[in-house]
């Protein structure tokens, strides 16, 4: 008798993730779905707003990664104004995105995931959080919090506030980096570097203990997508799109953002408000691809900074061609923090950062524009159509978590196969599913709920739609 397991919200608290697991007649897991039940409708209510407000409006999509939306939006605006922004603005936008990568990855690793690694996946949820980490390894926890602050300070120095800085605008940015801020950032770089290196060596020691997780946490072949520079190097802001397969072969390269539609299709499923993008030439759902830190390290030929490149070579040993286990998102995240710190080190003395020539002035020169940036969680695309006055007519957003949707479903299914036998949800499953999803660091409000406790509800559903078993995290 086929059955379905559903991880469902018990109490409908905001951002509660719901998961259903389908069983077949012999009680084997056939499929799993991670549902996003929040609907926000941003694409719709941007219509009829002036283009110049878009950066500020779309930055509100997410309180965790507003900078990424800001940059993608500003780039879409640049495309519509059809301008090359001043070189200083380019550098400053990059600096802000690097700060964003540091703060977001630090949050994901130290606050949300480290408790799983260091305290154990089955340690009590009440202490399996950043406070528990504080008690067991106060130095690491503190260093992690400070690393995140460092990233946030960069954003604050430029945007004026930590979240929702409407600072990047079509044509450039609104203000330069004040000298005092530049010195402050510079003085904190050594500590940021040291913390990252400590975390990396700690993680590499732990990898051995998590062999099982690395095997079942979303370990499957898929494509990977992200931005790369003209020479194929790691990118987070400029460059063009590249697709790589699980064997590490480049299958599409240097695709300008404006042509994304030729390569990316978008499927929507009834049970989720999240759209599921796929690689068009392979169709849906075969064209499953992953984005984010794991993908970016899989697609790039090098990072371009010494320490990060050294780590990249170790990272590559975790796979054959591409690194295919989603568990290694964590590893990739730490390497990216290192890359970001090194890139900030390399640019922080550039006098360009204090320039006053920051904004290109132009009217509407094109009626359509696509902007792309690498959010911490993966590639983010903003596509706008405007009228001749700059009034927004149509908006399409492709967000990182949407692109990873198919991969997250597969991850949940893979984990479930190990922890569901018959019609019972086994001990430890909820924690594993939670950790498996968290590897992707999905950008839902649930991903940071209650410091590491993800409100999850799972339901096991039989072949005729009947509820067989449920389990949920305590809220």
């Amino acid at each position: 008798m086929a059955q379905r397991i559903e991880i469902d919200p018990v109490t409908r608290i905001e951002g509660h993730a719901k998961i259903t697991i389908q069983l077949d007649d012999s009680g084997n897991v056939t499929d799993a779905h991670f549902h996003v039940t929040e609907f926000r409708g941003f694409e719709r209510f941007c219509e009829g707003r002036p283009l110049w407000e878009m950066a500020g409006i779309t930055a509100r999509i997410c309180g965790i990664c507003p900078v990424s939306h800001l940059l993608a939006s500003a780039k879409a605006g640049d495309a519509i104004l059809a301008v090359d922004i001043p070189p200083a603005a380019d550098q400053l936008r990059r600096l802000m995105n690097l700060g964003q990568i540091v703060q977001s990855h630090a949050l994901s690793f130290f606050h949300l995931s480290a408790p799983d690694f260091l305290l154990g996946m089955d340690s009590p949820p009440a202490t399996r959080n950043v406070f528990g980490l504080m008690a067991s390894d106060p130095d690491l926890a503190r260093a992690g919090i400070r690393l995140r602050q460092f990233g946030q300070e960069i954003i604050e120095c430029l945007g004026g506030k930590k979240i929702h800085p409407a600072w990047a605008v079509p044509g450039g940015v609104r203000s330069a980096l004040p000298e005092a801020c530049r010195q402050k950032i510079k003085s904190k770089l050594p500590e940021a570097r040291a913390t990252t290196l400590t975390a990396l060596s700690l993680f590499k020691k732990l990898i051995k203990q998590f062999k099982a997780e690395a095997q079942i946490f979303g370990n499957f072949p898929s494509l990977f997508m992200g931005l790369v520079g003209p020479d194929g190097s790691w990118e987070h802001y400029g460059g063009n799109l590249r697709f790589v397969d699980s064997g590490g072969n480049v299958i599409a390269d240097q695709i300008p953002a404006a042509r994304y539609r030729e390569y990316i299709g978008e499927a929507s499923e009834a049970q989720s408000y999240l759209k599921s993008p796929y690689y068009r030439p392979l169709g849906y759902p075969e064209g499953i691809y992953r984005v984010g830190p794991l993908a970016r390290l899989n697609i790039c030929s090098q990072i371009g900074t010494p320490l990060a490149d050294l780590e990249l070579s170790h990272f590559r040993e975790c796979g054959n061609g591409s690194v295919t286990s989603s568990f290694f998102y964590h590893y990739a995240r730490l390497i990216e923090i290192l890359a970001a710190v090194e890139k900030i080190e390399a640019m922080i003395d550039n006098p360009e950062l204090g320039s006053e020539w920051l904004r290109a002035d132009a009217g509407i020169n094109k009626l359509e524009g696509v902007g792309v940036s690498e959010a911490p969680r993966g590639t983010l695309l903003h596509h706008y159509q405007v009228d001749a006055n700059g009034m927004v007519q149509k908006v399409n957003l492709i967000i990182a978590t949407g692109q990873n949707n198919l991969a997250m479903n597969r991850t949940v299914a893979q984990i479930a196969r190990h922890y569901v036998h018959g019609s019972k949800i086994q001990e430890g499953m909820l924690n594993r599913v939670e950790a498996g999803i968290r590897a992707f660091d999905p950008c839902l409000s649930c991903s940071t709920h209650a410091y590491g406790k993800m409100p999850l509800a799972i339901a096991l559903i039989g072949p005729r739609g009947e509820l067989v078993d449920t389990a949920s995290t305590p809220v």
Binding site: G48, E53, V169
Partner: protein
């Protein structure tokens, strides 16, 4: 010019007979909240935020439109007035779409500032979610009706200072809207000289420089004051 003596909030105040209560209060260092009033323009008492209590009258009076009188006793901050002022603000917020977080004027808005100052921390009325058009047909400026509070500063500054009279108010009640010329798109309003005085005068995010992003719209009122002083007093003080 005769001088009058009155008391405002218990304080003895001297004023010229042609001064309004608002002017007399301001000269005496007493601040009365206003929205439609703008220095240098005529007053018409549209917003009712400056309402005060005058002893001997049951009706509340707009301080910007009432002249001082001998022996007048004025209260500017009674409980009752505070309550009404907050209610007026709530009604203004409920009437159209004030989503400060994504507004060009966020942080530099007179309506928002007043809401903070007068402690309007929530709105008890149902929002109307106006959904009006935004006009960005002008090549330099934009108008978002959703943020307009119908103070008519734009109408008055354009008429009284610039002399173009591009703006007017059309419609009644909830349908009232500021219009340019005969209600054509601003970009097609021939009378508009593109001087920008209306944008300088607007208290909210309704009128803005095109290209402004969220929280970027700061208004330079000193230019307006300069023009008004130059015109009225023949003094060119920069």
């Amino acid at each position: 010019m005769a001088a009058k003596t009155l008391t405002i909030d218990g304080k003895m105040v001297g004023a010229h007979e042609d001064q309004t209560i608002l002017e007399a209060a301001r000269d005496a260092g007493i601040k009365i909240p206003t929205l439609c009033h703008l220095e240098g323009l005529s007053d018409l008492g549209a917003c009712r935020l400056c309402l005060v209590e005058v002893k001997g009258s049951n009706r509340l009076q707009p301080a910007c439109a009432i002249k001082v009188a001998e022996g007048m006793e004025v209260q500017t901050h009674s409980e009752r007035l505070q309550k009404y002022r907050r209610m007026i603000l709530e009604l203004l917020f409920a009437e159209r779409n004030h989503v400060c977080a994504v507004c060009v004027s966020n942080g530099h808005c007179e309506l928002q500032n007043l809401a903070i100052e007068l402690g309007m921390d929530h709105v008890r009325f149902d929002y109307r979610f106006s959904g009006f058009d935004v006009d960005i047909t002008h090549n330099r400026y934009g108008l978002d009706h959703n943020r307009c509070i119908l103070c008519t500063r734009c109408v008055r500054v354009c008429n009284e200072v610039e002399g173009a009279h591009t703006w007017d108010v059309a419609g009644r009640g909830a349908d009232a809207r500021v219009i340019t010329d005969l209600k054509q798109p601003w970009g097609e309003a021939d009378s508009c000289t593109a001087c920008g005085k209306c944008v300088m005068a607007c208290p909210t995010g309704a009128l803005f420089y095109k290209g402004s992003t969220v929280a970027e719209m700061e208004r330079d009122r000193t230019r307006l004051e300069f023009i008004v002083t130059a015109r009225e007093k023949k003094q060119w003080i920069v």
